[in-house]
Amino acid sequence: MTSKTITSNVYDWVDERLGLSEIAAFARHKSVPVHAQSFWYYWGGISLFLFLVQCFTGVLLLVYYRPGADAFESVRQITFVMHFGWLIRSAHSWSANLMIFAILVHMFSVFFMKAYRKPREFGWLSGMALLGIASVFGFSGYLLPMDELSYFATKVGLEIPMAIPWIGPIIANMLRGGPEVSEFTVQRFFALHVVVLPALFLPLLGFHLWLVQRHGNALPPSEEAKPARECKSMPFMPNFLRKDLAMWLISLNILALLASVFPWSLGKQYDALAPAPMGIHPEWYFMSPFEMLKILGAFLPGAIGEITGILLFTLGIVLWILIPFYDANKESGKRARIAHYFGLLAIVALLSTTLIGYWTIR
């Protein structure tokens, strides 16, 4: 029996039980629009790829990481003692940052292509939930090395919910496992990072991907306006898939380059009694809200400013999430334009406050 015959027999055996031919036939009939903005279709796939990298590297880190009192020492061993431990940790940290960047690009491209409109509202909502969970992944993972920077940044970060009246201190204490950031906080963040968040993220991701398969790629308004005969498309299998995989490869190269040239280092071990070092700041994806609160605090000092800031920021996020119900379809007219300007305003606000944030900590 030749190897070809064996392969064919194995495929037939699996196909009979799982219906692979039907899936292949479905993929062959599925098509992806081709137009000037097609480039933005790849960002969802890039985000997925970077998430897979994190799952893989995260499991490897899990083998050696010890939450609690040994947290810093275990990360020190991973980074400075174990063979290629630094590479796995760097790949994990860089892919986390790149994933959040890719999700943000994906979100804004979906927004400006109006891909949240009917019937894709659930796609938008699930995507926003995934971004929210990814942010919490970032926040919880940042503390795990328990070095000086991560300790004080988390301490500052957990002071933000403290400003919420009544329930704020309860939430903060629950997250910290006490009145101060300590080894108990690491235990909690670790459980959150490797159990709770994946348990929420994975089914939601499956739902999001199923919706993408169900509704296909949305056309931007400029393409929707064209007559059908002028619209081009390409088969999902193999053309789009091939290009998608090429983008994954490019992402892998960027990741390898960053992890190798700028490996993720480790600061000094935290000392709860020491003063916070200069220039403590949150990760770049939290810099914008952090800076907005700072700016508002300059005008409204004290708790009033903090509460107002949190309320305004929450209102902005709620409006952003509800945009599919405001600009619901292509007949939206004036609402579509307002939504467009809202998106531009969001980009300008995020970029400018992030830049100001980094400028002022120099």
Partner: protein
């Protein structure tokens, strides 16, 4: 800038050479590989039976040769001269050794370089003006001349890593040039030559993909398919041979240099010289990606292969080439000429004399007669440390020594001076050559820089400029 010793803040003088050299290598290796690609492509076109496809191929090659002429003739030559300026300022001692030892080699290289420049211009400007066969011969002459430049320059570059025992036996006697050929055909000559030849062919294919990807898939499918696939084939020999050549090259490198490749396996700690390992990883990942993309996106689907894909492949190839050149340079540490001259320009046999008489008394490139310890220390820093370290940028001293007080800094400098067999720095750093006074002067200077005057109580008096 303080001629003749070049101080580039933040970037460091070494990186000035590095940037120019990496840029130059990317183009010059294309000049060699592309020099072979052009006449081979022209010969292939001449054998195509279909007159329309033949004409389209010829037009495409002519267009490619214009791009080739501009890139290699302008950017390649200018950056080549730039390297001479940069190495002369940064490493006057090493440059002097290379010139004196290989003066005949440089002369030959310049002759072939002139032939190269002339023939590439003739090749481009005589398209459709002279007989086809004669035009092809011009292309072959260019290919031969550009290959000759690689054959010669490779000998000199490989010499810097592995000068060989025969040359080292006469080094410093004034008879170094008598061992020209043994220095030239040094232990890493052949693996290095074959490696570079493979890289040249790959770069020829990669750059050709830029031109061929721009053909119109709808109007000229046959042209695009054949040129894209033919260009991809230029990558095949390299990716079959390179892994074996790398192993051969590695085996020929001295064991002390082989060890540098493994320093970054288990750590990224500052000052552990883990960069060679990290760069090797970049080369592996980018090279594997080029193979995958070139095969699946270009060879299997030439009509879908567009300029942005070609640019991505080119970018990866440039990253791989740059990382390769950077690793090769780093692999020489702590020498700039293996076992003869340290990377700060101090000759290995001179260390003992400098330890007795002092660094400044023996340096031809920095002078300082100041009574100030700080000022003498600054001069020693420029001479002994400045070719690899800056104060705040590349390999920053302020960061590497942060947290150390004067006693600790002094202990560090003494450790570098003693250069004992168990010193971790011995593998990649030259010894600090000088007297006890030099050690104190350098320590004073570094202490003032790391621990600002307010805390150290010392005030910088003057700089080491003459």
């Amino acid at each position: 800038m303080n001629y003749p010793f070049w101080e580039i803040p933040f970037l460091g003088s070494g990186w000035v050479i590095g940037i120019i050299a990496i840029f130059h290598v990317m183009i010059s290796q294309f000049a060699v590989g592309g020099g072979l690609y052009l006449p081979m492509a022209e010969r292939k076109a001449m054998r195509i039976a279909d007159p329309d496809l033949r004409a389209a191929w010829m037009k495409q090659i002519a267009s490619h040769s214009k791009f080739f002429l501009i890139l290699t003739g302008v950017f390649g030559t200018v950056s080549g001269v730039g390297i001479w300026f940069a190495i002369g300022l940064t490493h006057p001692e090493a440059t002097s050794t290379l010139i004196h030892n290989f003066v005949f080699g440089w002369a030959m290289e310049w002759v072939f370089f002139l032939v190269e420049l002339t023939t590439v211009a003739v090749y481009y400007y005589t398209w459709d003006r002279i007989d086809e066969k004669l035009h092809l011969k011009v292309g072959w002459v260019y290919a031969g001349a550009s290959a000759a430049t690689l054959i010669i320059i490779n000998g000199i570059l490989a010499f810097m890593l592995t000068p060989g025992d025969t040359w080292l036996a006469v080094a410093g006697t004034g008879h170094e040039a008598s061992k020209f050929w043994t220095a030239f055909f040094n232990p890493t000559y052949w693996p290095s030559l074959l490696l570079r030849t493979c890289v040249c062919c790959s770069l020829a294919g990669v750059w050709a993909l830029i031109t061929s990807s721009q053909s119109d898939s709808d109007k000229q499918p046959a042209l695009k398919t054949s040129t894209v696939q033919w260009s991809v084939r230029w990558l095949v020999p390299s990716f079959v041979a390179i892994p074996f050549l790398m192993i051969w090259y590695y085996m020929m490198v001295p064991s002390s240099q082989q060890a540098l490749l493994t320093l970054g396996i288990d750590t990224i700690n500052a000052g552990t010289f883990s960069i060679v390992t990290r760069m090797a990883l970049v080369i592996i990942v980018t090279s594997a990606t080029i193979v995958g993309v070139a095969y699946y996106l270009a060879y299997r689907n030439p009509l879908d292969f567009n300029l942005s894909h070609a640019m991505a492949v080119l970018l990866l190839a440039l990253i791989a080439t740059g990382a390769g050149e950077y690793s090769r340079e780093m692999l020489r540490k702590p020498y700039v000429i293996g076992h003869w001259m340290y990377s700060n320009g101090v000759r290995v046999p001179n260390v003992e004399r400098i330890n007795r008489e002092g660094y400044l008394a023996n340096s031809e490139w920095v002078w300082n007669n100041s009574a100030s310890s700080y000022s003498r220390g600054e001069a020693i820093f420029r001479g002994e440390c400045g070719s690899c370290h800056t104060m705040d940028g590349y390999r920053p001293m302020r960061q590497l020594l942060s947290g150390r007080d004067r006693v600790n800094i002094g202990a560090m400098v003494t450790m570098l001076h003693d250069n004992k067999l168990d010193s971790p720095y011995r593998r990649f750093m030259p010894p600090m050559a000088g007297t006890q006074q030099d050690i104190n002067d350098l320590t004073d200077f570094l202490n003032v820089k790391v621990n600002p005057p307010a805390s150290s109580g010392q005030v910088p008096v003057q700089t080491a400029q003459k």
